[in-house]
Amino acid sequence: MTNPSLVLGPVLYNWPVDTWADFLARVADEVDVDRVHVGEVVCSKREPFFADRLPEVIERLQRGGKTVVVDTLALVTVKRERQLVADLATIEGVEIEINDLTPLATLEAERRFAVSPLVNVYNEGTLGWLAARGAWSVCLPPELPLASVRELAREGARLGVETQVFAFGRLPLAISGRCYHARIHGLAKDSCRYVCAEDPDGLEVDTLDGEAFLAINGVQTMSQDCATVIDEIDALMDAGVSSFRLSPQTGDMKAVAAAFRDRLAGRIDGKEALARLAGADLKVPLGPSMMSRAWTPANAGGA
């Protein structure tokens, strides 16, 4: 089996553009990942701030030896968003990742593409159709049970499609037409004052009992835990997973990537890997993957 690939997902949060560019410059020079995703996934209102800087960031990453993947928007409704998606699909020299099926309306038949965890790939039929259309990598939805991951990885191997899992980061759980950041600040989405930029890891949503539960990121809802599969690597590799996605959070992503690389290479065990993540200066609490959460007592049926 070939070495599993390590992939840095797109920044899902509204970071100041200089912070974002500096982060990716550091990734280009110092962070041990094979591929790096760029592009705005969550909110089209953020996109204009980054558009001018995107070419230089892409070039920098490529000079650093990274394969660059440009992501499309997750929820496409109005004309400007449709145009953005159509334009991205024509950028040369980079890979494209689709975050819904809209790009398939305009993407040239011979152009290959990656599929993000926000696209519903639950079964072999969907995987097979996307592979025939040009998909070369599929990051599976985080809620898939291990049995499904195994079935899809087997089918992916047969079709020559890389099977990727969401391996680190607050889990993307939902996308909406409504902006929750604007809502809790008493603002409308159209005049949001970009309040989501105040929370570079998203804003924690707790239960009325003070229990950690979710996080909001503009129109996106996420897990509050920074979920990681780093202690489930053996089971996932055994199931045929060949690629692992790290979703950027504030903190030391270089250390996070290094911990994953060492764990994937078998240089450290799961326990040590978790300890290394715990020391990576993260601002968000680490937690288990959804796959393992599904077996916690409260969820085993009949809370």
Partner: protein
């Protein structure tokens, strides 16, 4: 109202969780009824609901005898390794005489288009097709004839979509309101381990617990507190996205107030926006509810088609004490 729209009579599409509810909906004036099989292939997979193949066959005969159509929802995402169950559901629906199937999964749509070329295909709201490009993709690639639009669009956006697409649209006008793009939400999976997309249940009763704590009644889902009310006050059902939480300095309904959708007053502009069919949510609701809501919307559409105004309070009392909203149809909702 423009003249072209005045000629088109929209279709009223009503829910049926049981054969009895289907008969009730048909008799109350439904142009079409939607329902599902008694298994995980449909997005309202609750105990005591839904249809066996024989019940579906009998119900379709009843509906057709009364001039109504039956649409069969097979709108969860097939489980890897078990796609045959969903494929067989499509075959059974066609065999039973269904007027259309409502599908969400790309692979299942591709299968149905290839293996059941005569079967009319509708795209479920669970596919969240939210713009003309992706709708054209579904229509041109698979022959989708109607798309149920996700509840994230405003009326002008719906009009813009209809101006560009080669198929019909259906929109929700009443009932439970998803605040997330449908089929793209794992909040309930996160809290309960049961997935709306895979298991067809959201905030399922099996994972609900009401607990007295001091002066409060606490409503929990999968162990998480979703709401807290003083004892003696009716406790809301803990639907995750309608719960109360804290976020920064905010405390309250972070995602949505406990409201349901009522777009009865928007029927005229939605017809002008080119919408073909109006859908009522609630396959899990009682027959009495189904009867009342279907009759009210039958009258609303008939009044409008006859040039009469739609009475303002006609549907409000049906919300059973809940507040209502026009949701994303009004842009300020966002």
């Amino acid at each position: 109202m423009n003249l072209a729209a005045a000629l088109v009579r929209p279709e009223l599409v009503c829910p049926a969780g049981t054969p009895a509810a289907l008969r009730t909906a048909v008799e109350a004036g439904a142009d079409a009824v939607y329902c599902g099989f008694r298994d995980e292939t449909n997005a309202r997979n609750f105990p005591g609901l839904n249809f066996s193949p024989q019940e579906l066959t009998d119900s379709i005969r009843f509906a057709h005898d009364h001039g109504s159509k039956v649409l069969v929802a097979i709108n969860t995402f097939p489980r890897a390794g078990a796609e045959r169950l969903w494929q067989e559901a499509v075959a059974k629906a066609e065999g039973a005489g269904a007027d259309a199937v409502i599908l969400a999964d790309l692979g299942l749509v591709a299968h149905a288009a290839a293996k059941h070329p005569k079967l009319r295909l509708h795209l479920s709201v669970q596919a969240a097709a939210s713009n003309p490009d992706v709708i054209r993709f579904w229509a041109e690639t698979f022959g989708i004839r109607r798309v149920v639009l996700p509840r994230v669009l405003s009326v002008p956006e719906i009009a813009a979509i209809n101006a560009e697409i080669p198929c019909e649209t259906e929109v929700f006008v009443f009932g439970g309101l998803c605040v997330m793009a449908e089929g793209r939400c794992s909040l309930s999976s996160h809290a309960t381990g049961k997935s709306p997309n895979m298991n067809g249940v959201c905030s399922p009763p099996s994972h609900v617990l009401y607990k007295e704590e001091g002066e409060d009644l606490v409503a929990k889902l999968g162990g998480f507190t979703i709401d807290r009310t003083p004892k003696g006050v009716a406790a809301p059902y803990p639907t995750l996205c309608k719960g109360r939480f804290t976020a920064g300095d905010y405390a309250g309904h972070v995602f949505e107030d406990p409201v349901s959708l009522d777009a009865a007053q928007l029927i005229p502009p939605l017809i002008d926006a080119g919408v073909t069919a109006f859908k009522i949510e609630g396959r899990q609701r009682s027959r009495a509810y189904t009867q009342a809501v279907v009759a009210a919307f039958r009258k609303a559409i008939d009044d409008h088609m006859a040039g009469r105004p739609i009475a303002a309070d006609m549907t409000r009392r049906l919300a059973e004490g809940q507040s209502t909203t026009a949701g994303a149809y009004k842009k300020t909702w966002r």
